[in-house]
């Protein structure tokens, strides 16, 4: 407990973090997966877990056949830095996943795909820059002599168009982030009930590694929605938010 508390408070130096990372990798190669997971988790607890740590952590869970945490951390890594390696690990996890969602949409809605497809940082920075430029040009346009105004007007309109488009993308990202809450089933088996309560009838079961949307939260239970719109209430502890 003390070590955990310290790890929460103290950050590792870059050398210490790399050493811990290497120890975790060595434990993984010795097939001591719980040891590797514990070391990666210490980096995460110290807020020093980037996409690489998340990737290795998810891979360690996957090697230990712990599908829930594996999909959780690999998906987090994918959201931070999508690449082929993460996609390959996730494909392996998907092969091992027990649930087959029948009638699922082939892909997410357009706005969600758009929000995930673009990197928020250049889009946000681009929007801010274009937004300021547009208003700066507008000021110049107002103060400019009449003979030069048409050129400035065109440039100003272009800046406004670009900034508005970028702002719309940022707005989509904000909307998706605020309204679409995703989670991964981490329990080996989670009973989805018809309403939040232990006495509720079990409508279906989901298994570790399934990606779901969280639609509602009542404290102990959350309402999840599967990709085919099937919904049920599971205990909150059985899922982990992305």
């Amino acid at each position: 407990m003390i070590a955990l508390t310290l790890s929460l408070v103290l950050a590792y130096t870059p050398q210490e973090a790399q050493a811990l990372f290497t120890e975790a990798n060595d434990a993984y190669y010795r097939q001591e997966y719980p040891v590797a997971v514990e070391k990666y988790q210490r980096l995460l607890a110290a807020e020093q877990g980037g996409p690489d740590v998340l990737f290795n952590l998810g891979t360690a869970h996957l090697a230990a056949n712990e599908l829930g945490p594996a999909v959780l951390f690999l998906t987090r890594a994918s959201r931070l830095s999508p690449d082929d390696d993460v996609a390959a690990q996730l494909a392996v996890a998907q092969q091992r996943q027990l649930d087959q969602v029948v009638g699922a949409q082939e892909s997410d809605p357009f706005l969600q795909r758009l929000a995930r497809a673009v990197d928020d940082r250049p889009i946000t920075l681009g929007f801010v820059a274009a937004w300021w430029l547009a208003f700066g040009l507008l000021l110049a346009f107002v103060r400019a002599p009449a003979g030069r105004r048409w050129v400035l007007g065109l440039v100003t309109a272009g800046a406004f168009f670009v900034s508005t488009a970028l702002g719309a993308v940022v707005g989509v990202q904000v909307w998706v982030a605020q309204s679409v809450r995703e989670a991964v089933v981490t329990a080996p088996t989670a009973a989805a009930r018809e309403f939040p309560g232990e006495s509720a009838k079990v409508a279906f079961e989901v298994h570790a590694g399934l990606l779901v949307r969280v639609m509602e939260d009542t404290g102990r239970f959350v309402r999840i929605r599967l990709p085919n719109a099937l919904e049920g209430w599971v205990e909150k502890t059985q899922v982990a938010p992305l």
Binding site: N25, G49, F55, D120, T124, W132
Partner: protein, 616 residues
């Protein structure tokens, strides 16, 4: 049970097949031992010679003894006497197998022979009975065994090898239980003391003097701390004749198991139980339940460092030693011998780094010969060279503890030299064994099969997971600031424009006021008598006023132009005429000084002041 403790008198009609007259009757009783243990059996023989017809033997029935079996035999002999008369001698011998029920000096009471004329009595026999068993321990002596596996020539354990006797089921001479002596279950071990991992054979027999129909159920004991392997589980019971302490039994083998202790110490084996159907169908059928004796094994620890137990030989073969780059090599490592094959760990192959070693495939085949468990394990490695050259696959060495010699032995394979030539296609080939889709073309060996987990990352950026840029606290102010600033600037411009308008009016008012002051100055000049200067001042004052009101530089304008400007400023016609009239008077006063009398100056001054006052 049926034959014990009863004082049966068997009537025996002796067939005196013409015994010769004069033959004497003999009747006596003997025992084969005078000192026995309570677990021992002994023979009591009652001999009757030349008994008369109708004689009946009365067998002793002492309560201190148990009669386990009874049998009889008859001998006839013929001899020629001194007078040339032939004599026939008939000897009948009754054999009782007995066992004492208690210790002490016991007496077998005399047997009797009842004839028509009299009753004969034998002498009583004293027996000293001690506790336990006085007879030799019924353990089997070591025997030389044949080749236990029937292995081909060259196998290290040939017929000439010393080999301990293992699991001979009839080497055991079990004690007959005091109850159920007609049918009892006996579990036995072929040795009482073994090493960890050494085989000990557990045998379970039914000994019976009854007619058996079959065995309904066999419940073997839990073998905790032991690894077991079946040696024999007969489905059809085969009887073997067996004499225990002089009592004839039929012995049926029920189960035979090879046990391998997993830890040192004393391991207890609980009794086995069976359900047996006896009798002859459909008569006299009975269901009987029997329980065997418990057993225990003393397990000795292995010497330090010993892990594998048995007697093993390790060998290896390789399919080719001269190969092209990318061509697979198959190395077979064969382990064979006696012992628990499952417990033997073959050290892994330490191939050179220039070889890619695929996971080996293992095959095991266990065998049982003469109750000795053994087998053969084949480990097949597939190695693919990654570079050309000459390499050596190191030999493998297996250490094992041989319980027979009680020493740690070694068996090794020879190292194998492999020459790797450049591939004919010049290709860095990597063949995958067992791939059904492997192309047949030699040039197309390069099957790089994907799948599996990707490798870990070995360098990382140790940063907290980045939050979205738009979640940054500066984002919202930065996004709101431009329109807010624009609105602010517009508001300021609006205010300033409004304020600027007021200033213009004020400026004009000030300018008009200054013009009026100038008129007042002109009056002073007029009082001093300078007419030219007076009109110049009036002209300047009026022009200043007009410039303030019209926001126009009126210097240089002709009078029509001035009139037009005033008309544009919506100055009423009377005011315009009055202004133009003042300018006309000033011109005359400046350039025709004679025209400038006091009344004219007064009128010019009044007209200018009036025009300023009524200016809209």
């Amino acid at each position: 049970m049926a034959r014990t403790g009863s004082a049966l008198i068997t009537a025996l009609a002796l067939l005196a097949a013409g015994p010769a007259l004069g033959a004497e009757l003999e009747f006596y009783m003997t025992v084969d031992r005078t000192k026995v243990g309570t677990e021992d059996t002994f023979r009591c023989e009652i001999v009757v010679s030349n008994a008369p017809e109708g004689a009946v033997v009365q067998f002793p029935a002492p309560p201190e003894f148990e009669v386990l079996s009874r049998s009889e035999s008859t001998q006839m002999s013929y001899s020629v006497g001194s007078g040339g008369m032939g004599q026939i001698k008939q000897v009948r011998k009754f054999t009782l197998v007995m066992r004492a029920n208690r210790v002490g000096t016991l007496t077998i009471p005399p047997a009797g022979l009842q004839t028509a004329s009299r009753t004969y009595k034998s002498e009583p026999v004293k027996i000293e009975v001690v506790a336990g068993r006085l007879a030799p321990e019924p353990r089997a002596q070591p025997r030389r065994a044949q080749n236990p596996f029937g292995l081909p020539p060259g196998f290290p354990f040939g017929d000439d090898d010393d080999f301990p006797s293992l699991g001979d089921p009839f080497a055991d001479d079990p004690a007959i239980p005091r109850s159920d002596s007609d049918l009892f279950l006996r579990a036995s071990l072929d040795r009482p003391e073994v090493f960890v991992g050494e085989q000990v054979t557990l045998s379970l027999f039914i000994y019976s003097r009854m007619d058996l129909m079959g065995v309904d159920a066999v419940q073997m004991p839990k073998l905790e701390g032991l690894l077991s392997q079946d040696i024999a589980t007969p489905t059809n019971l085969q009887a073997e004749d067996k004499t225990l302490g002089g009592v004839h039994y039929r012995a049926y083998l029920l189960r035979s198991k090879a046990l391998f202790p997993l830890k040192p110490g004393t391991i207890a084996i609980e009794p086995a139980e069976v359900d047996i159907s006896s009798g002859v169908y459909p008569f006299n059928q009975r269901k009987l339940h029997r329980k065997s004796n418990p057993l225990s094994i003393k397990v000795k620890p292995l010497p330090a460092g010993a892990a594998n137990v048995g007697k093993w030989r390790l060998s290896s073969t390789v399919n080719q030693t001269d190969i092209a780059l990318g061509e697979p090599v198959q190395l077979k490592v064969i382990l064979e011998g006696r012992g628990s094959l499952r417990n033997v760990v073959i050290p892994p192959l330490q191939a050179p780094a220039s070889f890619r070693v695929f996971d080996p495939q293992q095959a095991e085949k266990t065998s049982v010969s003469r109750n000795q468990v053994g087998g053969q394990r084949t480990v097949e490695y597939v190695l693919v060279p990654q570079q050309t050259g000459r390499f050596e696959l190191p030999g493998l060495t297996l250490e094992y503890f041989d319980p027979e010699s009680q020493q740690v032995e070694k068996t090794s394979t020879d190292p194998v030299a492999i020459t790797v030539r450049p591939s004919g296609t010049g290709q860095q080939a990597l063949a995958v064994p067992g791939n059904p889709q492997a192309p047949a073309e030699p040039a197309a060996r390069n099957q790089l099969v994907g799948g599996g987990l990707k490798s870990l990352r070995h360098s990382a950026t140790f940063s907290a997971p980045r939050t979205a840029a738009w979640r940054h606290q500066a984002f919202l102010p930065l996004a709101i600031a431009p329109p807010a600033l624009a609105l602010l600037l517009a508001a300021i411009a609006f205010v300033r424009s409004r304020v600027g308008q007021e200033d213009e009016q004020s400026r004009k008012d000030k300018q008009a006021k200054a013009a009026r002051k100038r008129l007042a100055q002109a009056e002073k000049v007029a009082a001093q008598g300078s007419t030219t200067d007076f009109y110049a001042e009036v002209d300047k004052a009026l022009r200043s006023f007009l410039e303030a009101r019209l926001s126009l530089n009126v210097t240089g304008l002709t009078r029509p132009q001035l009139d037009e400007a005033m008309a544009a400023a919506k100055v009423p016609e009377p005011v315009r005429q009055r202004v133009l009239g003042v300018f006309e008077t000033c011109d005359l006063g400046r350039y025709a000084p004679g025209m400038g009398d006091a009344s004219a100056r007064r009128r010019a001054l009044d007209d200018a002041a009036h025009a300023m006052e009524v200016w809209p």
